[in-house]
Symmetry: C2
Subunit: 343 residues, 2 copies
DNA sequence: CTGAAAGCGCTTACAG
DNA sequence: CTGAAAGCGCTTACAG
């Protein structure tokens, strides 16, 4: 009564539920029940079916299943880019949470909708829900996502009064901690913010808080105290070089848009014979591995990247089972981690 | 004759091909042809159908489609981990190639099959093919992948006489270049290899070449010339510290398993008052961003990560359309990039 | 506890 | 060039 060595290889088409039913001497309905609602089936019958499944190495056709259930157990996640630790961490957090909940992740790493709009980067099908990260204004992309008509959670971008969930990082807390930390020991007039792209939501939130905190101390932020560029070491170097030429680098305390920018500034400072943190105090953003590798070690505002990914997946899964659920805005805190670069 | 504002929202179930057929006054077969083989349909008819599709905002049900075509246009990619630039780059390369070819990527970032085997991390369904990265011996995982019975391409791992495609990096070329480069200026007895985990396929390939090249110069590699640990800065620091204590760091030329290890060694060397490259010459592996950020800038062997990802996707897509295709082994070259750390 | 049968939304010979 | 109809492999009321 042993099964043929390779049941499946012998036939032309894959083993179907019908084959299993035949072998177990039951109807396909019963096989289906064994798979999905075993409590409805008599133990003895169930066991017979299970044996047939094992012997035939049956694996359900998920297309047929999805056609009935309208569920794929696949979630889409669309990121503007996949580079850098933040995205890796976010993806990892999302993936492990998805796995835990019985889902898989369909990843798009270039969801940018480059101008033309034609590139329909979200041409997902088969997904039960979509997590979309939007870091800069991009209405076209958001509209496209909404048109997909699946549960949607937007990351990093706040849309007031939206009909979908969102998960954002609360830049405010961490930024405030960082600025107040820098203010201890450096006068407000010598504190600077060196951010990423001006349109970037995070950059905007951070500079806003930076400005507020200084203002609360009675200091109006001057034009040259807040600069915008990109999230790169090069931009940090450029800023530091100019600042140094103007004779204003020494004595500054700088909050950087990310750790790479901080690294660029640190390199220039050190090359110029300035000591970090004695002459220049530095705080980065992201708490990346890079920051821990620098010497002096970089103080940095931690972003809960993995948590963002996991929260997005959770929100999506909740909504899949309860589409009436009220839209939720989740805000995850950031926090300052002080290391040597700003002591 | 304008379409209702929101055709889909009005009904309970989504728009189907039947709705489109009704509106355009044709059969569902014709609608299907317009979608998949427009050249079989009269232009006037096709246009009428297209209009109906647009008005109703029809989007095909991919489950039903897949049930017939047995194609999802989704490719699985399973990595042991998702951390680090190598994986990010690989994923990015794979994703953009997939997009170009009309596919999507289902990503699993923890394909490790931790001992128990139970964790069936490859529980992919719905995929047309699977790219699986295996960096250390893991027969259970490979077997599981084979049992999935979809086109398979294995990354980073060579399986002789296998029935599936594989894409590997040719460590040999780059390693050879690197060792010969170090040998110019440093005697063979003072050249070292500091690798990652001993079981790691890349580590093994590299130490093999390292040994061969030295042997070709008439030098037998001593036990303390090749060390194994992990791919981390900490391991690099540990190695360098011990080596320094033994008074043997100065004058060494070190080929490191990755850039992080190199960074750890560089930190210790500099802290010990040794100059890189004057007292210690360093070459890393991966040509990561980190390497370019270090000062002195790190020489490194470039790994074509994005190309590996893209090649994997290509192989899979080819095999999806031609399952009779003979298994191919693709080997992508590595190359040394000399910067300041080994001059 | 189990089965017969309808139905999910497509594609594709087969006829015309 | 187009349509009627079968069929892909499941799930799920509905009966019994």
């Amino acid at each position: 009564m042993a099964a043929p060595a390779s049941a499946e290889a012998a036939r032309s088409r894959p083993v179907s539920i019908e084959d299993v039913a035949g072998r177990a001497g039951v109807s396909t309905a019963t096989v289906s029940r064994v798979l999905n609602n075993p409590e409805l089936v008599a133990p003895a019958t169930a066991e017979r079916v299970q044996r047939a499944i094992a012997e035939l190495e049956y694996r359900p056709n998920l297309f047929a299943k999805g056609l009935m259930t309208r569920k794929s157990h696949v979630l889409g996640i669309a990121l503007p880019d996949i580079y850098g630790e933040f995205y890796s961490e976010l993806l990892r957090g999302a993936d492990s949470e998805a796995r835990r909940l019985g889902y898989h992740l369909l990843v798009s790493s270039e969801a940018r909708l480059n101008g033309k709009g034609a590139s329909s980067s979200l041409a997902f099908g088969l997904v039960d829900g979509l997590a979309l990260m939007i870091t800069e204004p991009n209405d076209a992309l958001l509209k496209e996502a909404i048109r997909l008509d699946v549960p949607l959670v937007v990351l990093d971008s706040e849309v007031k009064g939206a009909k979908f969930d969102s998960v954002v990082v609360d830049n405010d807390v961490g930024t405030r901690e960082a600025v107040e930390h820098l203010l201890q020991g450096t006068p407000a007039a010598r504190c600077c913010f060196v951010g990423g792209p001006k349109e970037n939501f995070d950059t905007q939130a951070r500079v806003r808080t930076f400005t507020q905190v200084l203002k609360a101390r009675g200091h109006d932020v001057k034009a040259d105290q807040a600069s915008f560029g990109e999230y790169s070491t090069e931009w940090g170097e450029k800023w530091a070089l100019e600042r140094h030429k103007a004779g204003k680098l020494k004595g500054s305390a700088v909050l950087c848009g990310n750790d790479e920018i901080a690294y660029g500034i640190m390199l220039v400072a050190q090359d110029s014979g300035l000591s970090v943190p004695k002459d220049v105090r530095l705080v980065g953003f992201d708490d990346s591995r890079l920051g821990r590798l620098m010497r002096p070690r970089l103080s940095s505002v931690r972003m809960p990247a993995a948590e963002v990914g996991a929260a997005a997946v959770q929100a999506l899964v909740m909504r899949v089972s309860d589409s009436a659920r009220a839209p939720r805005q989740l805000r995850l805190a950031t926090n300052l981690i002080v290391r040597e670069s700003s002591k």
